[in-house]
Symmetry: C2
Subunit: 280 residues, 2 copies
DNA sequence: CAGTGGTCTAGACCACTCG
DNA sequence: GAGTGGTCTAGACCACTGT
């Protein structure tokens, strides 16, 4: 870079537009110059102007609203709080600050799409300790807010555990699935949350109505009973432009102190039996 | 879809290649057909074949290694565990299963890039309860694994708090920054983790050597003392193809039970003073 | 130096929406 | 019907890497 060589034309154009967007000269929702206007202004063909806009689209800064034009993306994220299943109210006053305003706008119940009996995908079977021939019950739903798809939510339960319970039926469970598990003698008292970040699959793009340049967070939740038996595995797909994931933590009771400045500590390579490998 | 209209040619080609990749007919690391070969095979021009490959690149499935060709992306994620600052060892046996193998491969200490005095960006000032004219100390680092940049880590502290302490100097802190805070009478006992997902900025692409189609998770950690004073704000940028974020949780001591099946509960719109708004 | 991908031009036609 | 973006062609030249 900057070694005498000049950047490609489309990058220069993209850089100029990006600067206008990040500096708010072009505000969220504003229309960009048309491809022809951009091409004229910079003395290039429309294809090159288009390539510049394509860069910004893939960065998630710009959306195309055909055939009206290109517009600066508007983002409006909602708080997603995995801990709310056990702690509906935040435990700390600090947490309240993150949630103090407009916490109740546009709520709609999530919609149960259906219940299926399946041989679970590998990633689920491993987490539920199921053999490849054992079946699981999956409740699939898509959550909507203001009529827009917001996230998907697939909860898997071992078939042997939930057979005959309300979990098997595609209706809302008024008392909540966790309460049903407790009544089945399999109260979920611990959980592990995994969060992975990637670009969506075409199927996810379709189900969640995602536009280009929007990554997703995949939140996998595995719930365990007191004696360490996995009883449920939930896979949530959260569009990146619609969510902030929030956790709150407290320092555990002191035994021996071990501190590190860097959160995350030393990374561990994911090669174990529970890890997903290969291409995405 | 499928309403008589046929998909664009480049989409058809992209679909065919994607199927080969997800079915492992084309394995991670394998080379794709050259653009010319693809064009010939499908009777289109090179530009169209190129457009098809571009789709897969932006989905993160394919990388270009110029001028050798295009290859199926190889992903290898490491575990990132925010809780390890307080709990170096997992609390539950289930957690061990996620970390049982090759936990120590390729470790290298993170590298302290520098310490600066700055007026913190808005997102940090809000979280640290600083006025816009108060300064903060920021320790910037990039973590490397096997010589590759792995994530960035910027920790901000209120200047008035850490003045004169080892936190001000760009050397490693053997006892850890948390211990220094404790010695300063500001022990961090609670924390809030925020995780946001988006495409990287050009600067992040450069610093982390990201290729196209790789989103990032932004992990913001705010640490609080016993009396609720924020004492540090860390912003980590984690490339999506290199990390899985892991949390473990236990059900809090029972008071009144309130269960919900859906983790995340009802989303809350992020409009508060701590939220970041607008474009990305 | 052969072969790859990266950039760019100069056209063309289409589908859709808005006035 | 005018104007927008979406798709596609048929070329051209360049930069870089491996042999």
């Amino acid at each position: 870079m900057a070694r005498g060589a000049t950047a490609p034309l489309y990058q220069q154009i993209a850089d100029e537009l990006r600067t206008q967007i990040t500096s708010r000269a072009l505000r969220a929702g504003a229309q960009l110059p048309t491809e022809l206007a951009l091409a004229d202004k910079h003395g290039v063909t429309r294809a090159t102007a288009r390539q510049a806009i394509g860069v910004l689209i893939n960065e998630g800064l710009v959306v195309s609203s055909r055939p009206r034009g290109h517009f600066v993306r508007q983002v409006d994220r909602m708080i997603y709080r995995p801990q709310s299943e056990w702690r509906p109210q935040p435990a700390s006053p600090e947490m309240d600050r993150f949630m103090e305003e407009q916490t109740s706008l546009g709520r709609e119940p999530s919609q149960v799409i259906g219940v299926e009996l399946v041989t679970p995908p590998d990633e689920v079977a491993r987490r539920l300790d199921l053999d490849s021939d054992q079946t699981a019950v999956v409740r699939r739903r898509v959550r909507f807010i203001d009529g827009m798809p917001f996230n998907t939510n697939d909860s898997y339960y071992p078939m042997t555990l939930v057979e005959g319970s309300p979990i098997m039926y595609p209706a809302d469970i008024p008392q909540g699935a966790n309460q049903v598990l407790t009544e089945l003698g399999a109260e979920q008292v611990r959980a592990i949350d995994e969060i992975e970040v990637r670009m969506p699959t075409p199927d996810e793009v379709h189900r969640l109505d995602l536009s280009a340049g929007v990554p997703v967070a995949v939140h996998r939740l595995t719930g365990y009973t007191h004696d360490g038996r996995p009883v449920r595995c939930t896979i949530n797909v959260l569009p990146g432009d619609r969510h902030v994931i929030l956790f709150e933590r407290a320092k555990p009771a002191p035994e021996h102190e071990t501190d590190s400045t860097t959160p995350g500590g030393e990374p561990h390579r994911v090669d174990g039996s529970l890890a997903d490998r290969g291409t995405q």
